[in-house]
Symmetry: C2
């Protein structure tokens, strides 16, 4: 079973996701690892701009990528970009292979946290916030999402995400994200979602005082589990 990765949103996050997929695979030699076909297309129009300012719709490029992966042999798809999930319903309708849904898998994972979590902080793009992806999936589980204030969302979170996309993932980016996470913890968040695949590239569990939820790692583990179940 060939795993398809529809990536490039952004490229560093895609590299990070593929590494997490390798690390999530129980293997002691190369030959026990998964066969992966990855289409990394960074030219896919910006997801947040499409959601916020009526920028170019990324859906056609996402569908083209998903079809390419299906035609080339992929049996399932992973899309390591949170914001892209706002468009995946239309993509799933155009391909015959399942897309493993990162937000759904993450919501299930948060539901299983012990002790139980009722308030979770979300560090994500403004597009993911506005699309309400986590709010929708977690709301059905009676978990409330806490979001940064407008100023922190723009000056700390989006600035960091743009910085990582620009290749400047230094200490300042990590401190900005840590600061944004702490504001959410102060507001009552019992866990923090690194809800943009760029975020865990810079921020880690060691930076915050509550559980850090990494949707990219959860997606990687879900993909591995799906492949092993089908074997």
């Amino acid at each position: 079973m060939v795993v398809g990765i529809l990536g490039g949103m952004g490229p560093a996050a895609t590299a990070d996701f593929y590494l997490k997929l390798v690390q999530a695979t129980p293997a002691t030699v190369d030959q026990e690892h998964l066969q992966v076909l990855m289409w990394s297309d960074p030219t896919i129009p910006d997801r947040t701009e499409a959601l916020l300012t009526h920028g170019e719709d990324p859906t056609p490029a996402l569908i083209a990528g998903a079809r390419l992966l299906q035609q080339s042999g992929a049996a399932l798809l992973a899309v390591p970009c949170n914001t892209a999930h706002a468009f995946l319903g239309a993509v799933q309708a155009e391909v015959d292979i399942p897309i493993i849904h990162m937000i759904e898998e993450t919501a299930n994972s948060i539901r299983r946290l012990s002790p139980n979590v009722h308030h979770v902080g979300l560090l994500s793009t403004t597009g993911t916030q506005k699309a309400g992806l986590y709010q929708t999936w977690l709301g059905t589980k009676d978990i409330q999402v806490l979001s940064p204030g407008l100023r922190s969302q723009e000056n700390l979170v989006m600035a960091s995400i743009r910085g990582i996309k620009a290749g400047t993932s230094g200490l300042s980016v990590r401190l900005q994200l840590t600061h944004a996470a702490q504001e959410l913890i102060d507001a009552g968040a019992q866990a923090i979602i690194g809800g943009c695949t760029e975020v865990p590239v810079s921020l880690g569990a060691e930076d915050i005082t509550v559980p850090f939820v990494d949707p990219a790692r959860i997606l990687a583990e879900a993909v591995v589990q799906r492949v092993l179940e089908s074997a």
Copy 2:
């Protein structure tokens, strides 16, 4: 121009190579990055075993992967596995798109080191050593390759490479590789080639006292240059 990566040899090294390709690309937003199609096939038979003990020939699987990437739109190929280069002549003959040759690019890069290098140490698989890949390409430039003794090659270098492939890239692996590098430096090596793509996953320039040559990084830079030239 779509870049094709024929990887999976091993998977962690392929993730490392893709990250190096992203880092080598001059880009400030996602949309300036390269479109990449990656076929990561860890089931390709072990290259060193094929060279040393008449194990299964990896050439058919390499050709199948190269053809898949060409058919799916790749305009050039990078193969981030040093040992696989022993088989790439037969692969290049079966596809119409160029394979950027990592060993050739690395030899050119070493030739440009200043001050000039006449003796270079090679940390690689035993397969790469036996195939004489670096010896051939560097010999034409009057640069001599120093190789670990039999015991160090097996107990330090191959043990480390197997460890990284098994996911245990801890401090012990790094110390083993550092020790093997130091032996080569003591024998007169003026630079060290991390000549298996698993090696730079663990060993870095900060670990040794002479220049560290990373063929995966050189290949990434060569690919970026080729794409920019064609634009």
